[in-house]
Symmetry: C2
Subunit: 210 residues, 2 copies
Amino acid sequence: MISEIQGNIYRKFLEKFVSFTDEEWAIFLPVLELKKLKKKSFFMEAGKVCQEVGFILQGTVRCYYVKDGTEVTTYFSFENELISSYKSFLTETPSITYVEAMENTELIVFSKKSLQLLLEDSRIKYKMERFGRTVAEYYLCCYDDRVFSFVTQTPEQRYLELLSSRSDILARIPQHYIANYLGITPVSLSRIRSRIMKPHISLLETLQSP
Amino acid sequence: MISEIQGNIYRKFLEKFVSFTDEEWAIFLPVLELKKLKKKSFFMEAGKVCQEVGFILQGTVRCYYVKDGTEVTTYFSFENELISSYKSFLTETPSITYVEAMENTELIVFSKKSLQLLLEDSRIKYKMERFGRTVAEYYLCCYDDRVFSFVTQTPEQRYLELLSSRSDILARIPQHYIANYLGITPVSLSRIRSRIMKPHISLLETLQSP
DNA sequence: CGGAAACGTTAACAAAAGATAATTAATCAG
DNA sequence: CTGATTAATTATCTTTTGTTAACGTTTCCG
């Protein structure tokens, strides 16, 4: 059960994708649940089939994959963003990624079961299809950008672009996770950063030299 | 106007995503058009807004981006696959990629305008939403895999995986396009290939040596 | 508060990738 | 068929990245 305030935040967010009428919202709202995750607890674990899509009211979440015993972070999400192990959720196959709260996190979740019920509820099925379509299209475009950056840019260029487009991410996320996200090692990202800084320092030195 | 045979091929393909009733198909079919592309001609050019989604009846198509005057291939598609500049099509923004026929290609196209009309046609709108949703979900999963491979694998591992999962691609596509697709240079791919081959050769040498 | 763990930086070396160019192989068009 | 493009390989050199390890810093937790 979620509060009216929480529901309204979610409803406003969903406007980006689809508008629910009051009647539709009255059907949709009751299937939503509030979920609280303590820092470092899981929204989703590898090997399980993801049954939910979450909407982050508060907190930060990261997706990662365990490769040879070490974690490789693939994504992060913040307040007012959806989170899921999409492929697992959509295809009902075991997830290969973990989804973990990086801080105490509050989510509105809506389950696969609820989605399936609503997709068969004649009062709202059309709107749910549209909802699913627009959300999937949105994430498709996000993925498209990301693939494009891997194919056409160097790690340094990807970092600079992240720096200019999502400095909020850089500010809140440990650097070694960023490195994973960019497809490089933490050591390499550290070098990229010092490479980028160098020109500024030498400029300062020039100004200071006699 | 497309033939019944062509329409049935498309209809069967679309079953992967959604089943049309005969009545629905009777509405859908007339909006489809046949398009023939000569080798090296464009399905889509950078700078334009993509107005169509194509289904390849015959031929091969590649997506590429022009960076500093050179082409960088990002994707290819074959018979029985959909093709579009998805982000441009979905967001109605200018495409940054070209989509070009690699051989003489025959497509069934369906236009944004037709889609919009059918999305407002009460007889079929529900099915069209579902169609859009399932197609977007499908491609979302494809992109998810591709991003995952960039984050967690080396170029060599990506090549080996492509080799085992899509050898049809490797057989039909010039190698320097494959290199682009993997996010590396053609020279680098050539080295990866020789690296992979080496062990076999030295095995042969071992067998031949006295 | 203090020890342990986690982070970011730096260094040293090995491995791989990019850039360029030369050579060979394959393909295409006349 | 053949000359001309285009593609793929190989070589050389430079740059970047990966790997491992050391070091100082910060953060966390008992």
